[in-house]
């Protein structure tokens, strides 16, 4: 008979389902989302590009690195290896887009120096 009372209670409760596109989903701690590159911290050691298993990172010069998020599989090696923590994971996970250039790197803390 417990199920009857449970169903009756559920009828007046809010549904468990989250309305995702309208209500943004919460990410957990240490979530592996889109990679953020802080160009002003970078010392140009190239460790990230060397260690990347899927070669999603193209190193041009200090402060100018291409992250192709279409090839990245979020192993976190570049984040771990970076000696100055210039590369970080963010909470952003919804970057489906019609333009493939949107999948390229996202630079914070100033523009890359030429």
């Amino acid at each position: 008979m417990g199920i009857n009372w449970e169903c009756f209670k559920n009828f007046f409760k809010k549904p468990f389902t989250k309305k995702y596109p309208f209500v943004k989903a919460e990410t957990c701690e240490r979530f592996r989302g889109r990679i953020i590159y802080k160009a002003d911290l970078c010392i140009g050691c190239k460790q990230c590009a060397i260690n990347c298993p899927s070669s999603a990172i193209k190193f041009h010069k200090k402060g100018k690195i291409d992250f192709n998020m279409g090839e990245c599989f979020y192993c976190g090696l570049c984040v771990d290896i970076c000696p100055v923590n210039a590369i970080e994971f963010s909470n952003e996970f919804e970057f489906a887009n019609k333009d493939p250039r949107e999948l390229k790197n996202k630079i914070e803390h100033g523009k890359p120096k030429k």
């Binding site: 199920i3 009857n4 169903c7 009756f8 559920n10 009828f11 409760k13 549904p15 468990f16 389902t17 309305k19």
Partner: protein, 291 residues
């Protein structure tokens, strides 16, 4: 014999199909809410039927059988014909409750025929199950209806006028609630519509207009049983109260559906045999013991 086809009754019959589909939507929504889901919108069955009417026929071997496309239409029409009696009494004549019982048998028989005509193994199994079940439940249904009419001492549905009959005929009321579950095929007795056993039961091969007609017939049947429950056992109120109380009755059915699980086929038959005995006890009881 009286046939009262006024404008009001024609409008009522026309508005009945969307009303029944909304009732189906309310059923689905209520079950979903009781299972802590959001569920489809209440208008979803109307969208489904409108979409299905725009679709073409699928290319199955069964379409060569004329019964395959004519039976869904007949099922739908027999579903509409229920509402000639309740709640408006558009047709009324002496002993018309026997005709009502025949109509309900006809609807189930057409359902069975639709399954056999679609020439699908799963549909055939579903049709066979319905055919065997019909032998059990239509008999109980006829006995319950006879009990109600003998107790009231009337000969026509239109003359029927009593309040809270479920208090005076409790066993018949329990039998009727079980019959509702069997007839509209909700969980404790959905041996025919069991999706894990016979997939979509008789609707496996149907698509487009045929499926739309079958869906509408099912919704009409469910609404009719809610209406009949109110008319016979709760009371013959005015129309406004009737259309407010039908969704409540549908919610009661949804509650039964949400809280129970399916009986096996043999368990269903054993229980139906038990309820047949109960119904017989009730029809004998009202002759001798009345409270």
């Amino acid at each position: 014999m009286g046939l009262e086809l006024s404008i009001a009754s024609i409008v009522f019959l026309l508005l009945l199909v969307p009303f029944a589909l909304v009732m189906e939507g309310i059923r689905r929504k209520t079950v979903a809410r009781m299972q802590n889901r959001i569920g489809p919108p209440v208008w979803q069955p109307i969208y489904d039927v409108l979409k299905l009417f725009q679709k073409g026929k699928t290319d199955t071997l069964a379409k060569e059988n004329p019964f395959f496309w004519i039976v869904p239409i007949l099922t739908f029409l027999s579903g509409l014909a229920f509402f000639l009696f309740i709640p408006f009494n558009i047709i009324s004549f002496q002993h018309d409750f026997i005709f009502l019982i025949y109509l309900l048998v006809l609807e189930s028989a057409l359902f069975v025929l639709a399954g056999f005509a679609s020439n699908n193994p799963y549909s055939t199994i579903a049709s066979m199950r319905e055919l065997i079940l019909m032998v059990c439940y239509e008999m109980i249904f006829a006995i319950v209806i006879l009990t109600v009419f003998i107790f009231e001492g009337v000969l026509s549905v239109a003359q029927f006028d009593s309040l809270f009959l479920f208090w005076k005929l409790p066993v018949a009321f329990i039998c009727f609630m079980v019959l509702v579950a069997v007839e509209i095929r909700i969980t404790p007795y959905d041996t025919v519509d069991a999706p894990t056993e016979v997939l979509e039961s008789i609707r496996n091969e149907y698509s487009g207009k045929g499926l739309a007609f079958l869906k509408m017939a099912d919704a009409l049947k469910m609404t009719f049983f809610a209406a009949m429950l109110l008319y016979f056992f709760i009371g013959n109120f005015n129309m406004v109260a009737f259309f407010v109380l039908i969704p409540v009755a549908v919610m009661v059915f949804s509650f039964i559906q949400a809280t129970t699980c399916r009986y096996r086929v043999d368990q269903t038959f054993k229980r139906l045999a038990f309820y047949l005995i109960l119904a017989l006890v009730e029809i004998v009881r009202i002759k001798f013991i009345v409270w």
